[in-house]
């Protein structure tokens, strides 16, 4: 009984300060010395493993880049694997499915812009891994003029690489056409942006140390509060015989 009340005191300070990321156990006094080193060792080992190299969860991510009149979608897992043969679907804002296809061996799928609206692109890599990205209409507006050739492609997967569309039928007019220039520039800029988009997508997915510590702190704090409330209830009760510690 006295042990219980004693244990309530350190718990109160832990719950009040919002526990840090070190999960040290509070056990009945006799075990405190043995619990702490083990818990500390486990915590250090885990954090060490987490931060050795890039520790990213196995989740599928994607990004989409507009290049000329086409959208190139790339799916990948956070640990670097490509989302091979993933199913990609494109939806209009009202929910109608515009097209569907499969990613190639590099996790890449590209298709002509079906319409100049927000396009919701969904990628399903199997076994419950799915992700989504919406290309805003504003990004497509400039590209609409570049989709010169009337390829209303149904977007079935093929090579999927960034093959430029026949967007600027070269040299049909002697004069330099501003629209053509715009199309060419947009194509080039779109292609250069692909690696940038990929990096941004990866950056967004990285887990920061503060996320991890925050999560652990939340767990310890929540359970600490629970512990504290229970301890108060115990000490408020008339002393009785408590059964031995459960396993």
């Amino acid at each position: 009984m006295p042990t219980v009340i004693q244990a309530a005191v350190p718990v109160r300070s832990r719950a009040a300060t919002g526990a840090t990321g070190r999960p040290a156990g509070i056990s009945p006094a006799g075990h405190r010395e043995r619990t702490r080193p083990i818990a500390a060792a486990v915590a250090i080992l885990l954090l060490g493993m987490v931060f050795s190299g890039s520790a990213l969860a196995h989740k599928v991510n994607m990004f989409a880049n507009v290049e000329g009149g086409r959208i190139v979608v790339e799916g990948y897992f956070a640990d670097g694997k490509k989302a091979k043969d993933a199913t990609i679907q494109v939806f209009a804002p009202d929910g109608t499915k515009l097209l569907q296809g499969k990613a190639d061996g590099e996790g890449i799928f590209s298709f002509d812009v079906p319409q100049v609206t927000d396009l919701r692109i969904s990628l399903y890599a199997g076994m419950g891994h799915r992700t989504e990205y919406t290309v805003p209409a504003a990004e497509l507006q400039g590209a609409a003029g570049a989709a010169g050739s009337a390829t209303a492609g149904d977007g079935l997967a093929g090579d999927g690489m960034e093959t430029p569309t026949a967007s600027s039928p070269a040299a049909t007019s002697a004069a330099v056409d501003p629209a053509e220039i715009r199309a060419i520039v947009q194509q080039a800029v779109g292609e250069s942006l692909t690696p940038v988009m990929r990096s941004i997508s990866e950056l967004k997915e990285q887990k920061s140390f503060s996320d991890i510590v925050g999560g652990i702190g939340f767990i310890v704090g929540l359970l600490g509060i629970f512990f504290y409330l229970k301890a108060r209830k115990e000490s408020a009760r008339t002393a009785g015989v408590r059964p031995g510690t459960s396993g």
Binding site: V4, P23, G25, I26, S27, P28, H31, R34, T35, I38, A39, V42, A43, L46, L47, M49, V50, G53, S54, A55, L56, A57, H58, K59, V60, D79, G80, K81, S122, Y124, G126, M127, G128, H129, R130, T131, E132, K207, D211, I212, G214, G215, I216, F218, I219, V220, L222, L223, G224, F226, F227, K230, A231, E234, G244, T245, S246, G247
Partner: protein, 205 residues
């Protein structure tokens, strides 16, 4: 193994939450205060486990460790895993938020099955009992969770047989790793601090 947002349909998600709530209530009964620090530590381990990447040849897998939670917490593994899944979904976006119920039933339920396997050790007595049963618990947790995953995907229209085989085949390396990790952990704990393991009848010393 966490299911992402947007794959399962409404009724399945609702059933997941209902099932998770029921099992959580059942497994949290008479929660003893003394168990709470242990729950806190192991939940943190589970929470962080999905970030640990184990390279295997050309690819890598991430740990789940619901078998370890089962071996240390016993029935309390379910609420602990559920809390871990909630935080993984909210903080890491690992697993969808609407899928928290289904994911909890999947990983928490797998842990409970693993605990039942772990408890069978009392029928035997040989030298490396804890290692063997710990390894079996770890592997069982992965298999059972995989079966629940296949069941959940079945509701989306995928043929169960094909999906189940694909899921289990893809998780064989995870099964082996989880088995090894949980077996080693169980044996270590048994040697150093046996009362940390769940389901022992001996009073703590």
């Amino acid at each position: 193994m966490h299911i992402s947002e947007g794959i399962l349909q409404g009724p399945v998600l609702a059933a997941g939450f209902a099932g998770a709530a029921l099992i959580a209530a059942a497994t949290m009964r008479k929660l003893d205060m003394e168990e709470i620090p242990k729950i806190s530590v192991i939940t943190s381990v589970f929470f962080v486990a999905s970030l640990i990447k184990v390279p295997i040849g050309p690819t890598s897998v991430h740990l789940i460790l619901n078998g370890l939670v089962a071996v240390v917490l016993g029935w309390r593994a379910f609420p602990a895993i559920m809390l871990g899944i909630i935080l993984q979904a909210i903080i890491f976006g690992h697993g969808g938020v609407t899928v928290i119920g289904v994911n909890s039933v999947m990983l928490g339920g797998g842990a409970l099955v693993a605990y039942m396997v772990w408890q069978q050790r009392h029928r035997f007595d040989f030298a490396r009992r804890e290692f063997i049963f710990g390894a079996m618990a770890g592997a069982t947790a992965t298999i059972s969770s995989g079966l629940v995953l296949a069941l959940a995907l079945l509701t989306t229209g995928e043929a169960f047989g094909g999906v189940a085989i694909a899921v289990l085949a893809a998780h064989v390396p995870i099964m082996l790793i989880e088995g090894a990790v949980v077996g080693a952990a169980a044996e270590f704990l048994n040697r150093v601090k046996p009362e940390m393991l769940a389901g022992r009848n001996a009073p703590s010393a």
